[in-house]
């Protein structure tokens, strides 16, 4: 008899999931962070070169139109911030095409929250507190790790000054594939994913900071006070070799944001990937003025996977792809 109608999570796990989500809501309620719900569908999509967006056709008063499924709730939430919402959080279904594996699912739950007026350090500490509240045991100390230092220690290379040729050779060697024609950031991503990431968060919570400026995404860039290099004001939190959260000191300059979107689409064209409609309403909101502050997106299913001691994200989801 076919059993592929069964859930991918045990019912007992779903009970635990519900309990942990209730605890998470209590965490934000205590801190006066407002829970919001924003649409999954939008006229604007994520231009991020390495995210594949899903889209759908819908009949609206304007006729038959293409709408994008969000890859994260970021744009709508920033519009709320610009409209004066104050601190907000959301448990948002997000969609990333092609991402299926032990730690990925095409449709997943993103926990995203924004803190106007917070510094990155304040948000890191809040993120750490939330993770500790949901985990059954103490994960060990919170440690700040600089991106540059991690590469120097693990690979003996400075990711900011190494030549492209040097990075391509290292990436080819560690990946066992030909990276000779790959751009700078692809080589860094491969080395980060295959060599550094598995060692992170092993007996503590690791926060990686000071990313290369080329990997700023929607974060501000600034000069590193220690060595004068341009870095991205963003952090990532790792636990048990798993990337859990990605936080930004948010870019609030509409012109800079527009030029990053355009640069993404230019890179998409060059790679033969489809261009994505730029979210004009987000740009208008930024132009009207979004309060400075920080925001973070946390893969809720991964955190639950760790909290409940599961091997795969599918084990904490009722019906993971392709059981859906």
């Amino acid at each position: 008899m076919a059993t592929d109608w069964h859930p991918t999570a045990e019912i007992a796990t779903l009970r635990e999931r519900a309990r942990l989500i209730a605890a998470l809501r209590a965490f934000f309620a205590e801190r006066d962070v407002l829970e919001v719900e924003t649409p999954v569908l939008s006229y604007g999509g994520s231009t991020d070169v390495h995210l594949a967006s899903l889209s759908t056709q819908a009949t609206t008063p304007a006729g038959r139109e293409t709408l994008w499924l969000q890859t994260s709730p970021e744009f709508h939430m920033k519009r709320l911030l610009a409209a004066g919402s104050g601190p907000i959080f959301q448990l948002a279904r997000s969609f990333r095409d092609g991402e299926v594996g032990r730690r990925h699912n095409i449709e997943f739950t993103m926990l995203e929250w924004y803190r106007p007026g917070f510094s990155l350090a304040e948000l890191i500490s809040e993120c750490d507190a939330l993770i500790r509240q949901l985990l059954p045991q103490d994960p060990g100390p919170l440690r700040q790790r600089r991106y540059r230092q991690l590469f120097r220690e693990a690979l003996g290379v400075d990711p900011f000054t190494a030549t492209l040729d040097e990075l391509q050779r290292l990436a080819s060697k560690h990946g066992g594939l030909d990276m000779a024609n790959s751009p700078h950031d692809d080589c860094l991503d491969l080395l980060m994913s295959l060599v550094i990431e598995p060692t992170l968060g092993r007996d503590g919570v690791d926060v990686v900071v000071d990313y290369p400026a080329s990997q700023a995404a929607l974060a501000r860039r600034h000069r590193d006070p220690q060595d004068g290099e341009w870095v991205a004001a963003r952090f990532e939190i790792y636990l048990a070799g798993l990337e859990l959260a990605n936080g930004y000191d948010e870019l609030i300059d509409a012109n800079e944001q527009r030029s990053r979107f355009s640069a993404d689409n230019a890179q998409r064209r060059a790679l033969g990937r489809p261009e994505v409609d730029i979210d004009e309403r987000l740009l208008a909101a930024l132009a009207a003025g979004m309060p400075p502050g920080c925001g973070v997106a946390l893969g809720l299913d991964r955190l639950l996977q760790l909290a409940l001691g599961k091997e795969r994200v599918a084990e904490v989801m009722a019906f993971a792809t392709p059981r859906c």
Partner: protein
Amino acid sequence: MANYSTNEFKGGLKVMLDGDPCSIVENEFVKPGKGQAFNRVKLRNLMTGRVWERTFKSGESLESADVLELEMEYLYSDGEMWYFMMTDGSFEQYAAEKRALGDTEKWLKEQVAYTITLWDDKVINVNPPNFIELEVVETDPGLKGDTAQGGSKPATLSSGAVVRVPLFINQGEVLKIDTRSGEYVSRA
């Protein structure tokens, strides 16, 4: 020939890599939140049996390998080639070289069905059944009454394999052998 992209890779899929047919063992999707995605793939080289670990950029593809696994009975050997016949009633015969036979050479017995791996219609691997019954053609005489005590002795079987057997086993007896470990299981 069809191509398979990394997102179609799953256990058991047969693909070509570096000129050899391989079977995919494991496929892990690796991706930094906002970066290039990769697939970390383990493949068994069907020619050598060795497991390779390779990384692919997501979306890359490999050519499919025309590999079939079929049940065939062992017929005979002319010293150079070993001949097998399909068990589906077609009586179709295939010849295997010594290299494809590998360790299975010592587990060959006429009329027993083996799993034959064909690549482009050539035999590249011959797998014996997990258990096989073979006759003892040579061993020291059995020790009467010693049925419970430990201790073993070598015995040469009709296929040429030498296995450790209990002391009470005699020449001419038929034994059940586990081909995966090469160990005696019981009298047949």
